[in-house]
Subunit: 221 residues, 2 copies
DNA sequence: GTCTATAATTGGATAGAC
DNA sequence: GTCTATCCAATTATAGAC
């Protein structure tokens, strides 16, 4: 967690063009600092003093931009979730090579969602859900739900073209993502020190695709 | 979360037989209070004052039994994890009715692991892992890892008896549990207010067993 | 808008009497 | 072992000068 690229697609912050004053830069640096601290320490272990020190701004300035710690946390989390899920949206093409598309989706999925960074985010969010349920709902909508629906749409299209035989696309999409995921998410959440084994992940992805296609291949099960 | 049955299998607390004085009852009531508060609020939102008030004991008494908040939290979590996983151990028989066994495992699995209670526990643990990694490791060993290994042993036995065709029992066990789980864990963790749909869960379990057996059934895939 | 300094509260942990 | 009362550090949030 040494260095992390700064978020670049936040809607509330315009780029620092000529006219934009230092205020936006301050807000951006606050958000960047908060992002790093949230990902490293979670909600509770991150203090507003730490944010102010790292930004670096005064606490008064910090509160001038974000009314409370919760609001700052929510801003960080939603921003990050959109950034992460956006990675997968881009590589969801409509091709007749079903196995190839599934492989690319699966590999991108494990690459993006199971990174150390995404794990820190999930840990922070899950730990905060009890107190801020709306954050959990927002993440669920922007993340797993959107991804499953997108995949289900692709699977339904493949079914109509006779490439697959799928009666319930949403169920099949959930199954596919679950198989590919395996226990990687649990391991990542509970064992922060253990680095995942890339070779085993690849093997798990391949085996998952085989299992899925063996059942949903065009021949009627 | 109105009432919750009290834990009854804690090793550090003897039952309140004749000789046992009030000390054990105090410790038990502390643990019960902490358990409820941990499950309802998580580690940080639970304060030692709340525990003392709910036990009800004084804070000094509390600290006489548990040296720190972390120690109390760990005691609660390990105790609860053993209780939950113990539920599944019991119904893992050695039968030739593979589909029946898998169905019973899957149903018990979703029943036990995906209860509101277990979800609160997972939320509390995951939120605390960043600061107390040993807790995450302990839960992982006692929970997912032990269950997967046990299931893998059963699958390997079925393979040797010619009932299934499984080359990698651990991989297959992970796949089976993942399919059955689907996105129920994510939903449970992120959407505490949403009650799971029992009918859909049952359908998901059945579909998962079909998918699994279609590939690993005795005929060579 | 931004800063320094501080208020106000909370919460983990303890002292001393019984 | 248990209680009441309290200490001390940390933390969120704000007041007032510039």
């Amino acid at each position: 967690m040494a260095s992390r690229p700064e978020s670049d697609n936040d809607m509330t912050i315009s780029r620092d063009a000529g006219g934009a004053p230092a205020g936006n830069r301050k807000a951006a640096s606050i958000l960047a600092a908060a992002r790093e601290l949230v990902l490293d320490h979670g909600f509770d272990a991150m203090t507003m003093d730490m944010v102010a020190r790292q930004a670096p701004v005064s606490k008064a300035t910090l509160y001038a931009h974000f009314a409370s710690k919760e609001e700052l946390f929510t801003a960080v989390v939603i921003d990050e979730a959109n950034r992460i899920t956006g990675e997968i949206w881009r590589i969801m093409p409509d091709s007749d090579d079903v196995a190839g598309v599934l492989r690319r989706i699966a590999e991108k999925f494990v690459d993006v969602f199971l990174t150390e960074q995404a794990m820190f985010l999930q840990r922070a969010v899950i730990g905060a859900v009890s107190r801020f349920p709306s954050i959990g709902a927002a993440i669920f909508e922007a993340g797993p739900k959107a991804l499953t629906e997108r995949l289900a749409t692709f699977l339904a299209g493949a079914h109509e073209r006779g490439l697959l035989n799928i009666q319930d696309p949403m169920l099949a999409a959930r199954q596919f993502l679950s198989i590919v995921r395996g226990d990687l998410d649990i391991r990542g959440l509970l064992l922060p020190a253990v680095r995942p084994d890339r070779a085993q992940i690849r093997k798990q992805v391949e085996a998952g695709i085989d299992l899925f296609l063996h059942f949903y291949g065009s021949r009627r099960p």
